[in-house]
Every structure is written in C-alpha cells, then in structure tokens.
Amino acid sequence: MKPEEMKLTGYRRPDGRYGIRNHVIILPVDDISNSAANGVAALIKGTMALPHAYGRLQFGQDLELTFRTLAGTGRNPNIAAAIVIGIEPKWTERIVKEIAKTGKPVAGFSIERHGDLRTIEMASRKALEFAQHASELQREPFPVKQLLMSTKCGESDTTTGLASCPTVGRVFERLEAAGATMIFGETTELTGGEDIVQSRCVNKKVLAEFNRMFKDYTHLITSQGVDLLGSQPTEGNIRGGLTTIEEKAMGNIQKIGRCQVQSALDPAVEPEGPGLHFMDSSSAAAEMVTLCGAAGSVVHYFPTGQGNIIGNPIVPVIKLTGNPLTLATMSEHIDVDVTGILRLEMTLDQAADAAMKVLESTINGRLTAAEALRHDEFVLTKLYRSA
C-alpha cells in the first residue's frame, strides 16, 4: 500500500495545517488552575480540560519547556480552539499569544481578583462560543505530505524488536518517500544503537546536535551512579525477555526503518520540513507523547510488547503488538495485530499495510482503543526542581 492511496480527511486550520480531531481544550497554565479548567469542561459540552501537575515557580530551561509544551498543545492542529486559565494574567497571556499565532480562536482568563467561580463563568461563556464554532467545522481531504505524526514504543520486549517496531519502520520508510513528516525520540533508549542514528543524520550540523543531546542525557543517567536495571530496561521489559539497554535500543531503533534524520529538535519544538526528525526526549510514554503533541503531531504509532496502555487527550495513539500473550490478555488496548510475523504468517510489508489501514481509519475519525478507553495522559516533562 502506498501512502498516496490513503484517503485522508481532516480539519484545515487557519495556519494551513490539518488536524484529525476537533477538540476545544481548557488549558490550565498551572496546577492550581486545574479546578477552574475542570469546572468549565464540566459545564460546556464538547470541551476538554487538560489538568497537569506543574507551572509554578519553574525557571530557566525548565520553565521554557513548560511554556513550549502548553502553547504547543494549544497550537496542535487537532485543537479547534483553546481557553487558557492561569492564576495570574502574565504567564496566561504568554501562552495565549503563542497559540494565537496559528490564527485559531483562543482566549485567556486569570483567577486572581475574580476567584474560581467568576473565572469559570467568564471562561464558560467563551468556551460555549468556541464549542459551537468547532461544531460547525467540516472535514476536508488532505494530502499525505501534510501529515505530521510521531512514534514511541513502550513496555517493549523481544517481540517489539522482531515485529511491531519494524512494522512502524516500514510504514515510516513509505511515508518518508511520500513527503510526510515524522518524529521519533527517546534519547537514552538509543544507547547501543546510537551509531545507527548518527549514520542517518543528513548533515554534520544535525549529527553534532544529535551527539550533544545524546551526550548530555547519557551524562545525566551515568552521573547518578546507580544501576539502572529495573528502570531501564524496566521491570516490564525484563519480564518480557529484554536483558540490556543495548538489546532494548536495537528493538526501539527498528521504528525508524531506513529513514534519514532531517533534524535534531529540542523537546516540544515543531519540525520544519518533511521527513523524519529526532526529538530529544524521555522514554516515559506519557511524557514523550505529550511532547510529540506539543510539536504538532496529530497521530501516534505506539508499538508495545508487554502492553503499555498509554493514551493522550489530543493525539490519538495507535497500539501495535506482536506479542500473542498481550493480544490474548489485553485485546481491548490493541489496534493493530502483527503477531503473524512471529509465526512467519505475515511479512513485514503485510504488517505495514495493516498498520496503514488503521492509520487511515484513525485519521478519518475512528477512535483508537486508547481514545475509547479514555486514556488521557497529559504529562509535562520536568527538567529539574522548581525554585
């Protein structure tokens, strides 16, 4: 199956990008504004609050990443309109301004000098307007070269390296040829296969940036002076048969197939130009997918071995597994079954075709397992302690 054969429909946003969902989000700037955001979402049908744990007393790069993640989430093409609620107006307006650059409807509210209840009322009146606006938008066809998607695997085992990750790799090779844009990351989980990523960097500048990110993150890991066995590989990985970080990394890297790496991005930065981009990121599933969403990804391939159940409130997460035990015991979480690869009943190309059929239907509105199960994990990446 060629990507150009997929019939894709989505919502064209004012900035020209296409979303495949049409959410109106109520975005808190900080932890203490979660209650007001939840209050608005409870009142107005068709809106969704994105509560999170941070946003106070952060500083420096850590603060910048939080701003970029929150603003990027609002900017994501799957979002039709956004209400931003913070405790005070200044940081609230900073996020509103970034989202407004996309041309989509956005409004900010702050709680001080109003209280939760008056804030909820004001924000709800605006949210009602936005929800009605969003409900009038229609899907339209869009070409695959307008697609921006991401991948990250989780609760990996030896079957992910044999089946589900190579399946994504094969689809990504096809998408690369068709001019789509893809993101992968998981910096330290490339350890033992980093030379493969290095050899794919399109030029010396990208290579130097990748090397700097890889070195810095690896230093963080080794500087703790602890044995990471149990954390990386995780206990789930070990239960599934993975023994070392190198073995896990080799499975992980199958997801990029033979694609070239066009750029090395800081976390939550939107890629420029088509092809595959590396994003410096943690391997914790909810953190990584949240960063992908903030970078503009509209749909995500998530190969799993032992059965990571993660989802994301704004980015549909498509789960693939090659593990027959996981398929049998956790079928409600799985969207694409590639267990046939282990039985040699399915070729990689057939598996890639199956994954693309689900990608096409997901883009056109079919709920993924994670969406239907309300897996709405929205998790900010914290770089260090708050002040």
């Binding site: 085992d157 030896t158 033992g192 296969g193 023994t243 970080i245 190198e246 282990l342």
Partner: protein
Amino acid sequence: MKHGILMHESEDDVGVAVEDLKKGSRIGAVTLEGKGVGAVKLLHDVPLGHKVAMRDLPKDKPVIKYGRRVGKAVAAIAKGEHVHVHNVKTLRWTVL
C-alpha cells in the same frame, strides 16, 4: 508453527522463544526471512519472548543479537540455556 525460536540474524548467539518452551525439548530455529538455523535442545524452560543460547558462550564473551553486541556473558553459558539478566549484563552504563 514449525519453529519455536526466531532469530534476527542467522549468526546471532541467541534466539527468541516465540512460545513457552519446555526444558528437554528439541526446538527448531528460523530467521525472520524463514531460513532454518538448525535446532537446539533446551536446558531450561524458556518463556515466550525470552532468549535461548544458540551456541556455547564462554564467560566475558560479547553476546551477539541483531548481528551486534547487546551485552556480555557474566557466566559461561551452554547451548540451550536460558539467557537473561542472570548471565548477561550490559556493556554500557557500567556502574563501578
């Protein structure tokens, strides 16, 4: 299914059990391309997804999977043994 062990490369030191395998049974191994890589008699029960040694591996030898070093043997490993965290460790992130 005629095979019980799947291998990334025919020269790899280890293969992956694609179903729960029993101690004492003789199990056929193939590559992902379907190429036969012989059979091995299991010295332990090996659960689905876990690795089996396809040859004798002396202590300290790098362990090859995907045609690459993915760790080293920290004990002598015999052909047919279960290979995992008890007898293979990472070559990276070594804590002194």
